[in-house]
Symmetry: C2
Subunit: 465 residues, 2 copies
Amino acid sequence: MLKNGTVLHQVKHAYATMPETVNKVLNQHSVGKKAFIQGWIKSVRKLKNHIFFNINDGSTREAIQVVAEMEAAQNIRTGASVSVLGTLSIAPNNQKELKAENVQLIGDCVITEGYPFAPRKVYPPEYVRQYLHFRPRTNRFSSLLRVRSNLLTEVTKYFNEVGFIHINTPIITSNDCEGGGEVFTAVPANKELIKQMGKPGEPTEKTYFNSEVYLTVSGQLHLEAVAHGLSKVYTMGPVFRAENSRSRLHLSEFYMLEAELAFINKISEILNVIENLLKTVTRRVLETSQDDINYLTNNKDFSWLDKPFVILTYDEAINILSSKLKMPDTDARSETEFSKEDELAVVSYCGNLPTFVINWPKQVKAFYMRECEDNPKKVSALDLLVPGVGEIVGGGLRENTYEKLQKNIPSDDKNFEWYLELRKFGGVPTGGFGLGFERYLQFLLDIENIKDAIPFPRWPHNCQL
Amino acid sequence: MLKNGTVLHQVKHAYATMPETVNKVLNQHSVGKKAFIQGWIKSVRKLKNHIFFNINDGSTREAIQVVAEMEAAQNIRTGASVSVLGTLSIAPNNQKELKAENVQLIGDCVITEGYPFAPRKVYPPEYVRQYLHFRPRTNRFSSLLRVRSNLLTEVTKYFNEVGFIHINTPIITSNDCEGGGEVFTAVPANKELIKQMGKPGEPTEKTYFNSEVYLTVSGQLHLEAVAHGLSKVYTMGPVFRAENSRSRLHLSEFYMLEAELAFINKISEILNVIENLLKTVTRRVLETSQDDINYLTNNKDFSWLDKPFVILTYDEAINILSSKLKMPDTDARSETEFSKEDELAVVSYCGNLPTFVINWPKQVKAFYMRECEDNPKKVSALDLLVPGVGEIVGGGLRENTYEKLQKNIPSDDKNFEWYLELRKFGGVPTGGFGLGFERYLQFLLDIENIKDAIPFPRWPHNCQL
């Protein structure tokens, strides 16, 4: 292993130039200009008198080719970090390349000492996922991270433009939103602290906050409180599920983009907000992340952007499943949630366009959903289904009549008094939705497993780092 | 209490016009134009033949004045939600007002039934804080929420412009970043699930993730992993402290804006990033939130934006405290953290400019801080102190020499193996910082108590909603 800081090749005195990103040098510099870059070696090719290596620094998907004299830079290897001072020129293949005048090793990378990625090898995602701390150095995952970041930026800009106010809803909460029971509880690790703070006879789970507390499963109820004053609000934050599910679509910790709107009377208004959001943000990220997205998806077809989303009622969807597609057991599934197979079959039947399913049986959806005006057995709830993933959005109108909501609240739960009071004082009809951010990325980028759509996935029996 | 939906005053058929925000009607409509708005009554004034009331919908700080015939709209009251169809006109006082043709009650608000805010009364923040679900309806807190949202938007845009990539660092983690022990642990609430998933003899805290897990205290270590590949990264997310502190500057759950940069060799480079970030984002939010900020701060002086931040070494700061300010017990405090009084005294001495304190005694700062080149007893760490709040940023260079870092890691902790490996394979010098988002808001808006800078504050014995 070479000592870090070793000068591998020096023609002139380096560091005369300020460091610049590979992105800037490749896309803004003119040929003949000096450039000083820093990054990681992605590949090395040795010829008779010269050595060629590619450097990437994460600023773009592209790597810049460096050419140096063989003798001086022969200890260069894949994975190492280096700085290079050189002159931008044109290689015989018409690509830009940096003719190195000074190459300095910053940190070596000796694969035999335990680095898990060999040069030139492409590993399956399950293998790469075992090394979360090195995963951002791989080509595919660094592209994913840049797209994910651009997507968040575009979401933030878009919601700001259309007048939504961002609200950080709480992570620790005394409300178990939907009463599903699949929550994590949080308690201080320091038992001494609990002893100091507690009252005699009090359960230790209640000591710190005077109440048992959970990690949020949704910011919706809190967003509703804020919507009763700011009208249009959204949040983008982590939510949690303590389930024993290891499917390719579930995580114990994931991100939800949630929005709530006041003065909403018709479900079509929410469908419009969702469709406009997804189309606008997707179009913009296709521009800002064009290169990364083409690389990740192999120039995927995005023609759904130019077509209206399909809207089906639940009954229509059931009818498609039973009469048209002859799916087995459809009768048994009537009045229940769809299975993943059902969801994908409906989307496929609808030409693989994003498909809204609305007006769900009451017992399938959460207690706060508003009854349909023309059918008290149905609620104005919606799912949005997309190819490859199934449901990526859930939402609907919220019950805003105090008495009806009170009747529907899970019994013996006093924690919902505040939620009821929203309807009692200056109440307004509200509605909203939650979009699974990782599933949206799976849909956009054809990511098979949700664990490859988030930097640090958590799932049962796995909490690396 | 009036039945919701009651038509209070109808001249013409309503809903001919699409609803618009108060912001748009006040700032973009021309006089004589029809407008249909929806919002909450902020105040009511009854004259002989007419009733005047102000409506706000959260889209702007301003409320629009509505004038209606007395007889028909006499049941209007503060806190209720209404829709109004009217014509925009100019009142005798030259303000825009809406001459109502139709006023419809959406949700009444009867204070005697338990609504905590009486008309025209201004309550102290501690009182308002008891009603977190109604707090977004108050003038001051709705202004705060709009500023907070704009601040987040500007941070997102700025980091995107200067090439930082947003990374969601994990909330649940098996690392207890700084070894402070003031962490929350997370376990599934469902005891049956733990039984199903567990192995015989295994502690229940370890069952779900095969490891005891904590709520993150900082995303720094994870950001460092990603910076070793993407070079410039940031996160903006919740962090947690299980402390028994009820000061006006501490929360159990708060937001940190954290950034890490690769190829950083000098602390001055980080100071520049922080100063540019704070100045640019503050300038922009002063534009986008001008009205709300003037209202909240009474036209506060922001002249610090035009002056360079002060930079002191720790030794210089100690010297100011002891020799110049004659603070008591300075000797005892030498080689320790500053107290809040020290911090505020140093800032005051420096003309109330934001003041960096750098080069801290090693034992005061976390294990990963890099030794100063010219003094192994000091580390290249930084605090940024501001008036009224004290420390709002902490950061520094990270130790990037494998052997030194290994020596400094808290003993018997195997969870840092991955963190060490970042230095072993393609290691680079890194540095970064964390900005307390609520403290930044406190500084900008002169918010005395941090609980009034976040929508849903959590602190010991308090987890409302």
